[in-house]
Amino acid sequence: MLCKLSAAILLAVGIIFGLPAAGENFSIANSSKTLAAAPAKADPAKSDAAKGDSKAKTDPSAKNDAPPVPPPPTAAKEAKRTPTKAVPENLDDLQHLQEQVEKVVTLTRPATVGVQVGSAQGSGVIVTKDGYVLTAGHVVGEPGRDVTFIFPDGKRVHGKTLGVNHDIDSGLMKITDPGDYPHVEMGKSSELKPGDWIIVTGHPGGYRSGRPPVVRLGRLIQNRNGTMQTDAPLVGGDSGGPVFDLDGKVVGINSRISGPLTTNFHVPVDTFRDTWDRLAKSEEWGELSPRSGGAMLGVTVEPNPKGCKIAELTAKGPAQNGGLKVGDIIVKFDGKAVPDPDALQRLLLKKKPGNEVKVELLRGDDRPELKVVLGKRP
């Protein structure tokens, strides 16, 4: 119920047994804040060269090195499609639209996959022959997790999550089973204008055998830096599924919704290209937004060279109950270093109310290790 009141809802679903879906229902509390500009564009020429170099150098010792990061798939060439009218006016216009939609469905369906990460289910789209998969950040969660990919015919392959940008909700995965995979081209989201027709697919409610990706048609309502809004309806399980233009190029990734059927939000594909190196190197960055009902520690922290310094404690909150004191510096949370408040926030968001967490502190010269039972955010 609470989630209904929030601005936008992310669209991954957990597998609750026998139920179509349930699960990670956290909201983006402040969507304007999460829409910070994407990091500066990588120079594709430069990264190409860099990749060439590093490959040459690292090949002999490739065993213990991370695999070289490939360049992002190049942007699609100039759009050749016949421009569509601002509004279809007659049968000819509609027939033309229908032909294009049917063509896009045929072209793109083999590359649209269901993804399962832990107990969450979402969707994704393959963009390279060797199996890089675009998806939503909240489907990835964090780098290095095991993923099962499900093709429309039910075939399954395995892989890993790579990088994630929580700010913009973009995420990358890679199929690790060797093979040549059907894939689609990445288009240019910056060229999309309000009124452009788009096709979205994905697995609403999670993958169902015998049901190929579910096709929907809509129009671009707004294309702001950082997010695209369309009137192609989405629901839980569609997260990470692709948005195609009428050329069949992926231009966005499904991310979140709010109440009305015209408020469906997608991550523009350009951000995947712009941050490709970071995503492919399994970097995790950006800020997750806390949600009501999520885990709560009950502290206000400030950055400190050694970790997160506790500035305030919620009276009778979980941290205080666990023995934490104002002035303590949290150096590790749940066994992981917390160099800054963002890192602590991210770790906390992965926990559930009631979880018991080990917290390592710097208190004067002591390094006490306390246990805190997390509370529930009101």
């Binding site: 601005a7 597998i15 609750i16 879906a21 049968l91 048609l217």
Partner: protein, 374 residues
């Protein structure tokens, strides 16, 4: 329930206003004129000629003075097809010109939730059914209305398929493990809890099926109805246990994790009460209200490809394909499928407050249990 929806609508309105304010400052801030949205006035107008014939074969079905469904004219001498579970006495059919005609219920086909109404008119124009039994995903569709334009447009989302009845649930959350699906959570009040399943249990068999993956397990459960029992073979530590659990509706408390998909599906509008358990449907993405089911849906040639039968989710509406309907018409008209109970009695539950929704689904499920067809 209603209050909450209203509140959420309010918040969202505020949000979109903020977005407009942002947009005006942004570089690509232009927003599409709502008249040009997919279901906006301008786009629907493009379908005017396409739906013109089907519009003439569409009526508004009203029950007890309220809109209940749309109806599809299937015979010139007063035969009107509509969605059965939305009906209650007294039924009238309203035409484009605003005139009302009292209707009698002459046939009900429960597995498709179709009802045949008869009115005293001999001058009607029936729909023109498509000859094809194919449906191409991506094909454009338009739902007819009593007005001039299409009620709404959509595309075929999925090839024709059977929609299973609402299944029972065990009430567990799963992860994969080397030895099989592993229970990570058992929900309080669920059949799983009552049967004594624990987090950490590994499910090796269910109903004599080896559970290699979570899907085998969840599909086996989905093939059962609430009230059914299933026997699971469980690995708990080194022990193997046989546990029999009774499946339930997903009505237990799933905590902060729970039932949000149900909420998401109702975000954007109410759903049909009877929205599952159909032998064959065409799934499309047309945005309909439950009271707009029962009417004809056309392809671009203006032929009727089916009759809308359910608003089933935020992204899905179902239509019964034309070839299925035409096969049922003779029985629906002949009295062979005459309702056993008078309408008011047969559907009186429908008249209760929306609170009874779950109950209704319940009774529907036990109803549909006996004539289960595969």
């Amino acid at each position: 329930m209603k209050k909450i929806t209203l509140r959420s609508a309010l918040i969202v309105t505020l949000l979109s206003l903020t977005q407009i304010a942002f947009a005006q400052r942004g570089e690509r801030g232009e927003r599409l004129d709502p008249n040009r949205y997919r279901d906006g006035r301008d786009v629907r107008a493009a379908f005017r000629n396409i739906v013109a014939d089907a519009d003439k074969a569409t009526v508004r079905v009203r029950c007890g003075g309220k809109d209940a469904a749309l109806g599809t004219i299937v015979g010139a001498d007063g035969w009107i097809l509509t969605k059965a579970s939305e009906l209650r006495d007294p039924v009238v059919c309203r035409f484009q010109d605003g005139k009302d005609f009292p209707a009698t219920l002459v046939g009900v086909q429960p597995s498709y939730d179709l009802a045949m109404l008869k009115i005293d008119r001999k001058d009607l124009t029936p729909v023109s059914w498509t000859k094809t039994s194919e449906a191409t995903v991506g094909e454009l569709l338009a739902t007819a209305s009593l007005g001039q334009d299409a009620l709404a447009m959509g595309v075929v989302s999925v090839p024709r398929r059977k929609i299973p009845g609402r299944n029972g649930v065990l009430g567990i959350q799963l992860d994969e493990s080397d030895k099989g699906p592993k229970i990570t959570q058992v929900f309080p009040g669920s059949g799983a809890e009552k049967a004594g399943l624990h987090a950490g249990d590994i499910v090796q068999r269910i109903a004599n099926q080896i559970t290699k993956s979570r899907e085998t397990l969840s599909e086996t459960v989905r093939s059962h109805k609430p009230g059914d029992t299933v026997t699971l073979s469980i690995l708990r530590g080194d022990e193997t246990l046989e546990i029999t659990a009774t499946l339930t509706l997903p009505s237990f408390d799933m905590g902060s994790n729970g039932s949000h998909n149900v909420d998401q599906n109702t975000m954007g509008g109410p759903l049909s009460v009877r929205s599952a358990d159909f032998p064959l449907v065409l799934q499309h993405d047309t945005v309909l209200r439950p009271i707009d089911c029962g009417g004809p849906v056309c392809d671009l040639s203006g032929k009727v490809v089916g009759v809308n039968i359910a608003r089933a989710g935020r992204v899905e509406s179902y239509a019964i394909p034309a070839d299925q309907i035409t096969g049922l018409l003779p029985d629906l008209m002949s009295g062979k499928l005459a309702p056993k109970e008078p309408l008011a009695k047969a559907f009186e539950k429908k008249a209760e407050s929306p609170k009874s929704e779950t109950k209704l689904t319940d009774s529907k499920m036990s109803d549909s249990k006996s004539p289960e067809k595969k």
